[in-house]
């Protein structure tokens, strides 16, 4: 669907180096990375809004590298909404129709569907200044979807919002993705957001792509120290939910809470997993026996890899614990973890 080949961009203050990406039809793809990594520049390059030095951007097998932005069929939604302040909400949403030959009855139908899907009916006559952040972002989303783009680019659409508005925009995104065949390409630095929306992601740093892969791959098999540091949450597993338990392969983890969906991801920070030689008598609900498969020196602490059944947990312990517990490759240990330290997505 989207194919980026050897893309190089040189701006006054910034460079993108040899970017390669492939994104499938109707995929929800996430681009992560620290501030200043070049995420927005890459988005704008795909949209044709920044000059490209070399490389190719191909959409649907068509080279669009030299096409002006208005002929690419790619919409963009910015973190700061970028609503046209002199136009009402309705005029904002229908702005793109001036430049597309759309059948009037179809346009009307699309408009009312979007208005309903994004819950905007009460706002249509208002000007953007009078809207809340969440409302503004929903309008921006409707405006971008109204022209039926092939690709929707989203530049941290949720990060600027108050936590209370995040959910509504996230749900709006999810619905929009499910009810269309548009390819979504979103920049975010929020892992929860990434995990709840997307299947595949790329991590970017300092103008180049560090890693591309499934969410699980990026969290569990970081290919560079940068990605490993960046994602932090090293224990990430796809799981089936049964009652208050999450089942990963044949290991059942007690969550202490009931989840509404049947499957998803669970994640545990390595420092939240306690290693001991014998079973602990504590309030910790989860306790597993396993075998140490690796010990990695990380300066002030050690990362210990423990195999439990089919899955490998990573735990962080101090040097003192390592010595006191006499842990080395092959040791039989017990892992314990509070159910509140287990995050689910």
């Amino acid at each position: 669907m989207i194919k980026i080949e050897g893309l190089n961009i040189r701006l006054l203050e910034f460079n993108l180096l040899n970017i390669k990406l492939e994104i499938g039809e109707n995929e929800f793809f996430i681009l992560m990375g620290p501030t200043g990594a070049g995420k927005t520049v890459l988005l704008e390059a795909i949209a044709g809004l920044v000059p490209i030095k070399s490389g190719k951007i191909i959409i649907d097998k068509k080279d669009i590298t030299r096409l002006p932005p208005e002929r690419r069929g790619i919409s963009i939604v910015y973190q700061d909404y970028a609503l046209f302040p002199h136009l009402t909400v309705q005029d904002n949403i229908t702005y793109g129709l001036h430049f597309h030959r759309t059948d009037k009855t179809k346009a009307k139908k699309d408009l009312s569907r979007l208005i309903e899907e994004l819950n905007l009916s009460h706002l249509l006559r208002r000007l953007p200044t009078n809207l809340s952040g969440g409302e503004k972002q929903r309008v921006a989303l409707a405006r971008a979807l109204m022209v039926e783009p092939r690709v929707l680019l989203l530049d941290e659409p949720i990060s600027a919002l108050d936590p209370s508005f995040r959910e509504e925009v996230r749900n709006g995104l999810k619905r929009a993705h499910q009810s269309s065949d548009i390819t979504f390409f979103m920049v975010t630095h929020d892992f929860a957001e990434a995990l709840s929306l997307a299947d595949r992601a790329a991590v970017m740093n300092d103008g180049s792509i560090e890693q591309v892969g499934t969410m699980e791959d990026i969290f569990q098999k970081p290919r560079s120290t940068f990605v490993a540091d960046f994602v932090g949450m090293k224990n990430l597993f796809a799981a089936q939910y049964k009652g208050t338990k999450a089942i990963i392969d044949n290991v059942a983890i007690e969550l202490g809470r009931k989840l509404t969906n049947t499957h998803g991801y669970i994640a545990i920070r390595p420092e939240d997993i306690v290693i001991s030689r014998k079973s602990l008598t504590s309030s910790m609900r989860n306790s597993f026996r396993g075998k140490v498969t690796g010990v990695l020196d990380q300066g002030f602490s050690y990362e210990v890899h423990v195999q439990v059944g089919q899955i490998s947990f990573k735990s962080l312990i101090t040097k003192r614990s390592l010595v006191e517990l006499d842990i080395h490759e092959g040791s039989e240990v017990v892992l314990s973890c509070k159910s509140t330290a287990i995050h689910n997505f």
């Binding site: 006054l12 949209a47 809004l49 046209f84 702005y95 001036h98 430049f99 971008a144």
Partner: protein, 261 residues
């Protein structure tokens, strides 16, 4: 009661001096001529003609600035290029040059000894002592005021609005017409007014290029020289009065347009 520090009184006194300094001479001049004298002056065909000429040439200068200056202002607001500072400096140059020098500089390219002057005279355009010459001079001195006001206006509009518009299918020109212009017209209007105000007050450069036809400031000067203060005052009052009315009218008209839209 709050005790004011001496510093507070220093600030107040300085402010009061400045207000008096600006307002006192103006009020004195505006109230000096009697009503009968003002009426008599406005019946003078020469006075009406020169005030009209002033308004008309200043308006033309503003219009030319609008047509030629808007694209450059947009370019300066939106792009970064080598030598941008230099271009900005050149734009500001007419503000810094002494007015008679402006007149002399323009005459030196418009004269018979310069290829541009020769080309113009072959086309039948005369700069020296003509309305065209006055408009050229006024555009020269007024342009920076228009350009800077509009450049600031463009800079205050987020480039992302234009980017979104492009991505929604609008070509560059439509984007300018539908997004940038509606958001910038207010600063364009301010630019036009500033340019007009600057142009209508120009004397030094005009008097060198075109003593005749006589714009209002030149006529005021002439009457002062020939007949004295008393005879130049009524013309000055009318010029100020008419300029103020015109600017006020422009503002009212455009504010109303905005409410309709």
């Amino acid at each position: 009661m709050k005790v004011r520090e001496p510093f507070f009184w220093i600030i107040i006194s300085c402010g009061a001096v400045i207000m008096a300094f600006i307002l006192l001479p103006l009020i004195e001049m505006m109230t000096a001529p009697s009503l009968a004298m003002l009426m008599e002056t406005i019946k003078d065909k020469d006075v009406v003609r020169s005030i009209w000429l002033s308004v008309y040439t200043a308006g033309s200068a503003a219009l030319i600035s609008f047509v030629l200056g808007t694209p450059l202002a947009y370019l300066l607001a939106r792009t970064n290029f080598m030598g941008k500072r230099l271009v900005e400096g050149i734009v500001d140059l007419p503000i810094a040059i002494p007015h008679p020098v402006v007149g002399i500089a323009i005459l030196s390219v418009a004269g018979k000894n310069h290829w541009l002057g020769q080309a113009l005279s072959e086309l039948g355009v005369r700069i020296m002592g003509s309305v065209a010459g006055i408009i050229v001079v006024l555009t020269f001195v007024g342009l920076p005021f228009y350009l800077n006001a509009v450049k600031n206006g463009f800079e205050s509009i987020s480039p992302r609005l234009e980017k979104v518009s492009r991505s929604l299918g609008a070509p560059m020109f439509s984007t300018f017409l539908r997004i940038t212009f509606p958001l910038a017209w207010r600063s364009m209007l301010i630019g036009l007014i500033m340019c007009c105000a600057r142009a209508i007050s120009e004397f030094g450069a005009v008097v060198i290029v075109a003593y005749h036809p006589m714009i209002a400031p030149v006529m005021i000067y002439e009457r002062f020289e020939a007949f004295g203060l008393k005879y130049s005052q009524p013309v000055a009052v009318w010029l100020v009065f008419i300029s103020l009315i015109l600017f006020l009218l422009l503002r009212i008209l455009t504010v109303r347009k905005k409410q309709v839209a």
